[in-house]
Symmetry: C2
Subunit: 328 residues, 2 copies
């Protein structure tokens, strides 16, 4: 794979010698999912899967750090490789099983119950950063044990330009100290509103954001699922709604898709200004809305930039208004 | 009260002979409220109280249709009158008690439990539309028994230019037929997302909106509390976020304040285009955010147009972004 081209809107050339612009860490896994609208067994899942796929629409090449068993379908890996997702950092454990999660969504799909979690290969995952990933500008630490996230950060000889970390209440419950340690070293944290309240012990999201930004991250993104996303930085705030969808079939992976679209857009533009972060949030939201339309990453894998741009335009229209203010 | 002037930004002249531009129907009541941030007994409450007060910042005069006992403080009525809230349609029942509601908010203030409801004067409320309210252009049917809402509509000899109806799940549970009857006669319905799903039996808010707009209202506003508000009309949608607040003390009345700001803005501008409705939603959201900052209508009564405009500007800034789309 010295140089390589794919067809269509995602076509690009990628050069292995060029340092990786984006590296993503997270699970690559199977999910069994039940929503009010259906049920599917062992679909492709995992945070890093969604992150890498989403980012691939905006960057020609990215590195993946994860672990799977030998039960993970080869054709999916090939498909990911075709999309520029380099797998030198992906450990394949022979004779072992990939991480498995099973969950059931409530009628209100903002809440779900975990039915089963089988760590399998994840139980003793020691991430190894390949030499070719050194010097990456953008690092996405997907939701995972904070010790694993920290280990990757520490293996990078040069600190990336932008480090984004996603986590969840589970790690706040069982590994808060380690999480706080890694938080000190990241630029952007993405969590949901409940988690922001839990981490900060503040009800007001404005106060919560202020407290969390004192823990390390200079940027906080609060993901509110079907209610949109908020970006905080210093005294500034930006809100992007979620698009009201005709069909919401399965929200699994929407948050990871959002993160992947967000960091992919920034990495593609090589621009981390606040204005560009706002755009990246709108792009991430648009991409996440696609993920909800089918089970697993199926819909996410069918896209092209034109389709994504049309949805971004819907976001633009959705919030567009003009008002004359006399007193402001 | 032939002509009358108040001072400051709300100054106006109002002429009793001129037909009422806006008439509001709803409760005027006492609330005892407990939130995670405090507790207050018997504060001034009621849908029509919040609606009229909010609207008073945008229109010089409005009519109020409601009922109270002789326990309701005279100075509050005088204060409302000073703000141009005409009380010819307000029945005061001697020897009886005003409607009383008591509730407790969860830590997540989007949910609350009703602890006590004493209908009192509301039990056999027969609204009477005063002659001076005939010919009003804007009618706000606040949350109340749909039979009362319908009775007011039927007493108006001329149909108002715009009729807005607010309701809640309680009436869907116990008076669905009557509610559906009145829905056929209104232009705008305001409910929350759960109620939209209950009324339409659709999970997707897009599908829910479509179904509800077939029931009568040409416009649907879905109020999502701290998550903002959605406006649907034909195939168009508009979303206004809620401002992330530093202090959220008591959300009681926020929905009514929103409705009052919305219809007040429209009535003041005498413009019911979709573009103006979008502005009205932003204004309603801004006003509702003030109501949450203190218990009862206290904060709502302290405002002026300059203060409201500054908050509207925060909304403008919160959602402002620019993005270049190649494919759209």
């Amino acid at each position: 794979m010295a140089t390589r081209a794919t067809t269509g809107l995602n076509s690009y050339l990628c050069d292995k010698q060029q340092p990786m612009n984006l590296v993503s860490v997270g699970t690559v896994a199977f999910d069994s999912i039940e929503t009010p609208f259906g049920k599917q067994e062992r679909v492709i899942g995992g945070a890093a899967t969604y992150i890498s796929l989403a980012a691939s629409y905006y960057i020609p090449q990215s590195g993946l750090i994860s672990v799977i068993g030998d039960d993970f379908p080869k054709d999916v890996l090939q498909e990911m490789e075709k999309r520029g997702i380099n797998q030198e950092g992906l450990q394949i454990k022979q004779g072992e099983k990939s991480f498995f999660w099973s969950g059931k969504y409530h009628y209100d799909m903002n809440a779900r119950d975990t039915l089963d979690t089988q760590l399998n290969v994840l139980a003793d995952f020691k991430p190894v950063v390949p030499e070719s990933y050194q010097g990456c500008d953008f690092l996405m630490l997907g939701n995972l044990d904070p010790a694993v996230q920290l280990s990757v950060l520490e293996q990078l000889r040069e600190r990336p330009r932008l480090v984004v970390l996603d986590t969840m209440n589970f790690w706040m419950d069982i590994a808060l100290d380690k999480l706080k340690e890694v938080l000190k070293k990241v630029d952007v944290l993405t969590i949901n509103d409940e988690e922001a309240r839990q981490l900060s012990e503040e009800y007001s999201l404005v106060k919560a954001a202020r407290k969390i930004m004192e823990m390390g991250p200079r940027y906080l993104i609060i993901k509110k699922g079907e209610h949109g996303a908020l970006l905080f930085h210093e005294d500034r705030a930006f809100f992007a709604p979620a698009l009201p969808l005709e069909e919401v079939v399965d929200p699994t992976g929407a948050g990871d898709t959002f993160a992947g679209g967000f960091i992919g857009y920034l990495a593609g533009a090589r621009n981390i200004s606040f204005d560009n972060m706002k755009r990246a949030i709108v792009v991430g939201s648009a991409m996440a809305s696609f993920t909800c339309e089918k089970f697993g990453p199926e819909r996410l894998m069918e896209l092209d930039r034109e389709t994504i741009d049309r949805r971004v335009q819907e976001f633009v229209d959705l919030v567009d208004f003009d008002i004359e203010l006399v007193g402001a």
